[in-house]
Symmetry: C2
Subunit: 403 residues, 2 copies
């Protein structure tokens, strides 16, 4: 019998309880023992809830109970969640989490404590919700040197972009619709401005390259600057605009990571990942490309990943999972503006100025396009070179084209 | 130091040696010890090969060497491969394989021996080549009750169908082209007639439902009956024809599995899995749908999966991986002809006869279609009902529509 405590009885925490109750039999078979929820920590009471009698308000009850071997942290944030995780690990309990902010910022430190105490800190749900991605990278692709990882990591922004692309919605309308459908929060900043995707690409980069990437150090550009005009021009290039988190090796001992909107060819599988779904592409030197697709958020999909980690923690009570990365040596993570690519540029300028700056470019237009601007696709430049070339132009949009 | 022996130095076996040599450093880090190839068993000699001095011709050298803890079986077939696997497991060595035929037919028996000897029998490469799928199903989705699994499991047939769909090739031309490009064997029967896909869907069904499915018991229909006319009609329905392996629960204690061409909507991600690539969709009651995509065959992708298993076997020298299924109780696996679906039918018959049999149907045509036939999409029927309804017609093609 594995006794667990859930900290945070919100959407994900209650989903975890629900899945454990519903699939008890198969979970017990897979964990080779029963999994029982002993405590649920929350500030609130839940009168009438199926787990009402398990609710506690004081974390020390959990920390001090030696029967509890696994703590599930579904609180979010880096305050109490960090403190409770630390205390649980120090008390010799494994911790399972869906908290991407905490893993991205403090994962390295928390894994070190887990290692010292011979317990596990597992976070399959922190990236891609229910999509299996952490284990595939760390176990299934362990024979590969991983060169790059990129993908659609945020369902809210992908929903908004899909509405703009498929139904011609404006950014504002699509955002309101996402909020009305429960796909965006009242304050959607973390999603819209790419901060959520940034945390996730940092975790993926940590695992792929084995070096810690500090979320505050990477550039995150969101989708608030994507207009309906950009969507239309992109279509004429055979592309969809997708917000991608991307991490890649840039040399033998260097790598970079960033979040930005990209033009992605409609002939690629990734461009067909629409709505709230997520898709993550990993490239290994033996495997080539693999893609992982599924629900990147939501109560039950996220709970699916959390409970898989609970099962794994139960099975590895006396063995550590190899899930680890090092501090990055100085200079390891480089500025993403040096990554070369083709670019889509939309600017208020003259044909002459574009010719002077770029020579021949691939101009794009569509019926109804604004008359005071040009849009075009460039050759391959890094961002610094591009900024110099577009220096004299009133640039309205400038996005990478994913090749 | 983990010392291994590779049995069978063909495409996959030599790929395994190549990846181990090339990624030695990262493999050692992931396995927490060096992996060294001590023997390579093959009938042939390989003068000038980098591993020439490791070649042996007598399996007993491997079986009798207690230093060898992991045996890699990349021979194929169920003759010597079965015997060597058995002997290796009985000698207390873990076995890693890419041999889908052996896993599908004898996996259950071999896992039982591995269990008894407290070693592992691992086969990530047996389905989907390099695509992580065995571990995701058994570990990452372990919190779910898995309801169904289906996908494009054979690259040769997907290449042929893609050539027919995208470039208007006939079946024969596409097959010859696949052979010329090394994507199809001189005797392509196992691929074309769906036998390869059948072995793979049996393994997936074993793992998803936890019950052994005998490959000989499931219906496998290949693509030799798919004509250019079918491809054209399917396009008019907004579909591509794809050869799918499919396994699903059909009741509380029953399930089924089969292989057949399906019409798949072009709006689905799976329909965009083209050429030699594979894509596998798994549906769990908590997760919903997830899809796994990548190279389903080929030297290095397959080696990627084999070497990941070698690393896992090295890490679990004194612990067993939970990878297992039971004998199916009598009646558990039911006849796939009872699975209901919409159908695409192409038949030489009269409008009157179609009307009598089906009432209103959705007729399809395209410019240049044969004048002596009708094609239409039906409502939902199981195969037995459909066969009765089409009894008086000269049916040329009849494929399920995947909804």
């Amino acid at each position: 019998m594995a006794k667990i405590a859930i900290c945070g009885y919100g959407v994900v925490g209650s989903g975890v309880a629900e899945v454990i109750a519903e699939n008890a039999e198969s979970i017990a078979r897979n964990a080779a023992e029963e999994v029982e929820i002993k405590y649920i920590l929350d500030r609130r009471d839940f009168p009438g809830d199926a787990f009402e009698k398990h609710i506690v308000h004081d974390f020390s009850i959990i920390a001090d109970d030696p029967e509890v071997s696994i703590v599930v942290e579904t609180m979010g944030g880096v305050g109490a969640a960090y403190e409770f995780t630390r205390q649980s690990l120090l008390a010799g309990k494994s911790v399972v989490t869906s908290n991407k902010e905490l893993v991205a910022k403090k994962g390295h430190e928390l894994i070190a404590i887990a290692k010292e105490k011979n317990v596990n800190y597992l976070f399959e749900a922190s990236v891609g919700g229910g999509i299996p991605i952490i284990r595939p990278i760390t176990q299934c692709l362990s024979a590969n040197k991983l060169d790059s990882v990129y993908g659609i990591l945020n369902g809210t922004t992908n929903y908004i972009l899909t509405e703009m692309i498929e139904n011609g919605a404006s950014f504002d309308d699509a955002l309101h619709q996402a909020q009305a459908n429960g796909f965006a929060e009242a304050d959607p900043t973390a999603d819209i401005e790419g901060l959520d995707a940034a945390r996730k690409i940092c975790i993926l980069a940590d695992l792929c390259f084995g070096k810690h990437v500090e979320p505050a150090d990477i550039k995150a550009q969101g989708i608030s600057g994507v207009s309906s005009a950009d969507v239309e021009y992109a279509k004429r290039l055979g592309c969809k605009i997708k917000l991608l988190g991307r991490a890649l090796r840039t040399g033998h001992d260097t790598a970079t990571a960033y979040v930005a909107p990209h033009l992605v060819s409609t002939s690629s599988l990734l461009s067909n990942v629409d709505g709230v779904m997520n898709g993550i592409v990993v490239h290994g030197n033996a495997l080539g490309n693999a893609m992982f697709y599924g629900a990147g958020a939501g109560k039950r999909p996220t709970a699916s990943a959390v409970v898989a980690d609970i099962i794994d923690a139960a099975k590895h009570r006396n063995a550590r999972k190899y899930l680890d990365w090092d501090d990055a040596p100085a200079g390891y993570f480089t500025d993403s503006s040096y990554v070369p690519s083709r670019w889509y540029v939309r600017a208020q300028t003259s044909l002459q100025q574009i010719g002077w700056a770029f020579g021949k470019v691939n101009f794009i237009s569509y019926p109804g396009a604004a008359e005071d601007e040009y849009a075009f696709a460039t050759d391959v430049y890094d961002e610094n070179a591009l900024l110099k070339l577009t220096g004299g132009m009133n640039v309205r949009s400038m996005f990478r084209i994913l090749d």
